[in-house]
Amino acid sequence: MNNKTIEITVAGDATKGAPVPSKTKTRKIVICAGTGCVANGSLDVFREFEKVLEERGFRTLVGEATKEKDPGNGDGIRTDPDSNIRLSKSGCQGFCQMGPLVTIYPEEILYTKVVPGDVEEIVKETLESGRIVQRLLYVDPVSSRSCTGHHEIPFYQRQHRFVLKLCGEIDPESLQDYRNRDGYSRAEQAWLRMTPEDVCNEIEQANLRGRGGGGFPTGKKWHLARIEASTKKYVICNGDEGDPGAFMDRSIMEGNPHSVIEGIMIAARAIGANEAYVYVRLEYPLAVARIRKAVADAEEEGILGDGIFGTKESLTVHVMEGAGAFVCGEETALIASIEGKRGMPRPKPPFPSESGLWGKPTVINNVETLATVPLIIDMGATKFRRLGTHGSPGTKTFALSGHVANTGLIEVPFGITLREIIYDIGGGVTGANGKIDPNGFKAVQIGGPSGACLTAEHLDLKLDFDSIKEAGAMIGSGGLVVMNTSTCMVAIARYFMQFTQNESCGKCVLCREGTKQMLGLLDDIIEGRATLQTIELLEELASAVRIGSLCSLGKTAPNPVLSTLRQFRNEYEAHVIQKRCPAGECRALSKPVIDPAKCVGCTACARKCPVNAIHGERKQPHTIDPEICIGCGVCIETCKFNAIGRN
């Protein structure tokens, strides 16, 4: 087959060395290489595309940077003048559940769950014949409609991808790609055309609030560090995202690492720092690699290092890996960890802005916060504040998971309601059978293991830092776990308590011993050993831990317990008074029962029962003696007639 040209290719976009205008329509194949898609085999899909395109005579422009084996040759894609197709990897696009994701530009056709075996068909059908491969399109489970691209998928339609915009569009390993999208122009503006005070003011006027959990005003934080008289100051980017199921920061670091570095540069300008650390958790190897490469490329290009933008100032950025401790996401513990000490929080004051890393004034911001900064400098505080709510301008990324049809990473403006997130973006609540259940919603855990449960009464609450706090929860790092009616809230509280208990640094008594005892009390409730006094003691202990702990890990650890006690006290009471789990989830409390209408008296269950608790005549419905039954459930598995369930 001879070389073919695809009609849609727009000429002039591929001149060697020239920057590609950002809005050019180019024939391009983008394969998601976020951690979720990589785990589902997207790199194999990428290689298969390379192979098939070559076999079928396409001239592919594969950026050296995107080749796995050789990440060395930096920025961007080789753009030979007569080539036709650019093959590129992107950062996480958020819809991990449907990965690997392949997008074909300029039509913006999104293929989901692509495996290497699909590649030849995509090339033949879509690239060569301009036809869509229907079976690879996403089907909306609500409307059963096939969606050809992001724009048609409800999961994306209701989002506002602002900080995440470039993740999924640019090659994260290409500095040139980032520069083509105005990258580093905002840092340049801050360094050359703004004073440090201007920068702080702009961020303060934008009312940017820390995305790491607390929602502290970033501009105020910067001002505090700026006014400290010290010749040495530090900026730290906190990428120690440790909440289970949360991967907002990882996606930004993997998908658009330069935006984080640009944010750091602006923060450094604002406070007068010449050294910065990016602290990334060890469990994010791809994020570590991409941030490292981005720093190296920026140094190579003279963006970082000495003489920033022609000034006499310098900025050195170090990338440091955490060692797996959740508590190192707490700022003072993180600082101790960088200093080579045991990662343990210390009492505040003094705050890091006054005495932080190595005792010097330090600003510590979360990844998402820093990635938002260049966008604010770009659009200005006034325009930024039009996004979101008055008290919480801008957007927030959430990791949506649990019993919803669509799970993944989403970005929405503050002020959106939970209902919109769960039903429009998430596509609705799924029931125990995995199908959409319109009445299935029970609760949503917001803010990770330190967060709290919100219920149906909060579905129309406009989400922002303050409204959530009023509802007794917190935005936290942005985990959203949707739970359906088959979920036991006591078991959920226990699950999160187990996590915080394991991750307590062990320094302060209330967190170390208190979470352990709370876990024990929850076990007592779940396993039928508790009384009403247990609940009272649990409540008293939870409140002591919340008020008295040293750091926010401890202070927020009881949140899941306190909020479920508040919203679902009847469930707790059912466990201790009636020794019954209303959701039927707690094994020790729910015992198998035989439905006499379905039982045919085959005796199979009676023969398998390890404690001989099942009695009955042959060919007559059997019964289980609850006094003898130990609740193991062997009978349920044995029954071929679906006649045994749990009470």
């Binding site: 045991r342 009492p347 062990g506 320094k507 008594v509 002591a544 008295g548």
Partner: protein, 673 residues
């Protein structure tokens, strides 16, 4: 003037660094485990919570006071949380309180009582672990640890060592020596300051009471005691007497009542130390010997110096400590008096110190298997024996110390305080040369700072002196000496804050004022004696005339001086990094001792580990860490199959490994595997 309101009363601020200090000043003793004014603020025990208007409940230890603050120390909520904290701690405690040696002085027990904790509503989560009795000086019992971290901060911040630290996370947190080794295998110098601040019995002096009772009850044995200077001004605290009251006569009476044959004074030996150490100093000064001269009476400091400053060993005075001089003289001179042989003479030291328990076991102080000092009792242990016997200490009639080893001058008593050795030496030198003007220096020498400098003139010579207590301060001075630009002639070092009066064997106190009162007691005791300079002690003179000859004589050297050795920081088994399988293996040890570490052994190790991993040699090459091959000046050092390679580089190491590999299998073959 800045003021705060505490529980409705106005309190004026006077530069207190935190609300807790302000509250204490105002007469409210806010409970705490982890706050010590001499240590950094830690904020872990959560007992010192207070309610500050506008801020809510915050820990008072880490909150700086501010003008106008309205503070409440006891609200319903705070009281509940404090009780909860104690319940939680008790639920994870072995609660063997009646048999715990710390029982009567235990802060956990005291606070549980004070705060009205009458019930622990939680099930016990305590999991018993092994008690570390590996050292002669201290017992480490993690079953009683409440993880307040006081010991850790004391060891690293005040003593500059860090022999113990927190390990693991969550409910598995524990305080341990490095690599989970025993205390005897790490760099602990046995000063026991960790035990001094430990609120419970988790770290405590190791008792020798039973051995002493056994000796007393053994009719073959003649048991003699020596009383260290700091003991007499502190033991009264155990019996309700004020700190600093001088109870020498009561100690003698109690010991005699309990069955000691003779009771002598370590101050006698301190006088002897002054003579020997001053003469050594004068000799060094006159003959151009190694200066500055470091004192050597503190065994914790001596071990510290051996571990971290082996190059300064020549600066250490060769004099034995007073305890060991006493032991040596007693064992050689008293057998006649007491008509027994050396085997049956039992010397018991009564000391404010835990390190003395270790010192007596040093091989230099053991002759033919018989130690010069058999047992060391701390002040606490002596008080315990008195209680066990049933003696009413405060009602005792004072009795006199026995002669000749019970006679001392005021200079010998001064050894109990930091600065005391210096003052005693100056008195001796003044007495001898008649040309020393010490008056001006005395106020500096007697101050309480951790680091003091003084200058005195001997004739036309100026003498520059440094006095330090706390080993972190000692480390700074030793580093100055090492760098060669400090110009000191004489440096006194005491490991414990305040000197021996602040020793870990003294009655338990968390109050700084107690230490000051003990120090005053020492100066008072000096004043009350007829003689004040060691050279005037007639029994010392007689000892020289009859037996020792002159100071520094051959006999004096044999009995009163010693030698030191460079010491590893970490003993015991090596730490394996890469462990190869069975069959032919190459053993590689990389030294991680201080000296090799600063010469780059860690980087070398990393390169070697990556080399072994890259070449896939894990099955054949064992890599281990070791601590000191005693070739420190040529580091970094490694051992490859028993051959020490000094001044090792990665290249040298690689060649050595490949040579060793070559002798078994071809390197190329190995790499292919």
């Amino acid at each position: 003037m800045a003021q705060v309101t505490i529980d409705g009363r106005t309190v004026t601020l006077e530069n207190e660094s935190n609300v807790l200090e302000v509250a204490r000043k105002s007469g409210i003793d806010i409970p705490t485990f982890c706050y010590h004014s001499e240590l950094s603020v830690y904020g872990a025990c959560r007992l010192c919570l207070v309610d500050i208007e506008g801020r809510g409940i915050v820990p008072s230890c880490s909150t700086p006071p501010a003008d106008g603050m309205v503070i409440r120390t006891n609200t319903e909520e705070i009281r509940k949380i404090r009780r909860m904290v104690l319940e939680l701690l008790l639920a994870n405690h072995d609660q063997s309180c009646p048999t715990c040696p710390k029982s009567s002085a235990c802060k956990l027990r005291e606070l549980a009582r004070r705060l009205g904790v009458e019930e622990v509503r939680f099930p016990s989560t305590h999991i018993p672990v092994e008690v570390d009795t590996s050292t002669a000086a201290l017992v480490r019992d993690p079953n009683k640890c409440i993880l307040c971290g006081d010991c850790v901060r004391m060891c690293s911040e005040v003593q500059g060592i860090g022999a113990i630290d927190l390990a693991y996370r969550g409910d598995r947190v524990s305080i341990q020596p490095a690599f989970g080794k025993k205390l005897s295998d790490v760099e602990c110098v046995y000063c026991g300051q960790c035990a001094r601040v430990c609120p419970t019995g988790a770290l405590r002096p190791k008792s020798e009471i039973d051995q002493v009772w056994a000796a007393i009850h053994d009719s073959e044995k003649r048991v003699v005691a020596q009383i260290a200077p700091a003991v007499r001004v502190a033991i009264g605290e155990s019996f309700g007497l004020p700190a600093g009251s001088i109870n020498t006569g009561q100690i003698v009476a109690a010991c005699k009542a309990m069955g000691f044959d003779r009771v002598y004074d370590t101050c006698f030996a301190a006088d002897l130390t002054v003579v020997e150490e001053s003469e050594e100093f004068l000799r060094r000064a006159e003959s151009g010997g190694v200066l500055p001269q470091f004192t050597s009476c503190c065994p914790a400091w001596v071990k510290f110096c051996e571990q971290y400053f082996p190059d300064l060993i020549p600066n250490l005075s060769s004099c034995r400590s007073p305890q060991q001089m006493f032991g040596s003289i007693a064992k050689s001179r008293l057998t006649g008096d007491l008509s027994c042989d050396r085997e049956n003479l039992v010397v018991v030291s009564i000391m404010p110190c835990t390190a003395k328990k270790f010192e007596k076991t040093r091989p230099e102080f053991v002759q033919n298997g018989l130690p010069d000092v058999d047992y060391v009792l701390t002040t606490q242990e002596l008080a315990q024996m008195v209680e066990e016997y049933g003696i009413r200490f405060s009602a005792l009639k004072p009795e006199s110390l026995d002669l000749p080893l019970g006679f001392k001058t005021g200079a010998g008593v001064l050894f109990g305080n930091s600065g005391g050795v210096t003052e005693a030496v100056l008195r001796y030198v003044a007495g001898k040369t008649g040309s020393v003007d010490t008056a001006a220096a005395v106020s500096t020498i007697r101050s309480d700072d951790g680091f003091r400098e003084a200058e005195v003139s001997i004739g036309d010579k100026k003498l520059k002196i440094a006095i330090v207590h706390g080993l972190a301060a000692a480390r700074r001075v030793a580093e100055d000496v090492r760098s060669g630009n400090c110009g000191y002639d004489f440096i006194e070092v005491m490991a414990c804050p305040g000197g021996c009066i602040g020793g870990a064997g003294q009655p338990v106190t968390f109050d700084r004022e107690t230490r000051r009162m003990r120090a005053e007691g020492i100066y008072e005791a000096d004043k009350m004696l007829q003689l004040h300079a060691s050279g005037e002690n007639p029994y010392i003179r007689r000892l020289y005339d009859d037996y020792l000859g002159t100071p520094g004589s051959e006999t004096a050297h044999a009995l009163l001086h010693t030698h030191y050795r460079s010491r590893k920081r970490i003993d015991g088994e090596v730490i394996s990094l890469i462990t190869s399988g069975a069959g032919r293996r190459i053993d590689v040890s990389v030294c991680m001792g201080t000296s090799c570490l600063v010469r780059g052994s860690q980087r070398l190790l990393q390169e070697m580990v990556s080399y072994v991993e890259e070449r896939g040699l894990e099955d054949v090459v064992n890599i281990e860490l070791t601590f000191c091959l005693e070739r420190c000046h040529n580091g970094p050092n490694i051992v490859v199959d028993k051959n020490i390679i000094e001044g090792c580089t990665f290249e040298k190491a690689r060649i050595a490994i490949e040579d060793a590999l070559g002798s078994t299998v071809g390197v190329a073959d190995m790499a292919e595997r």
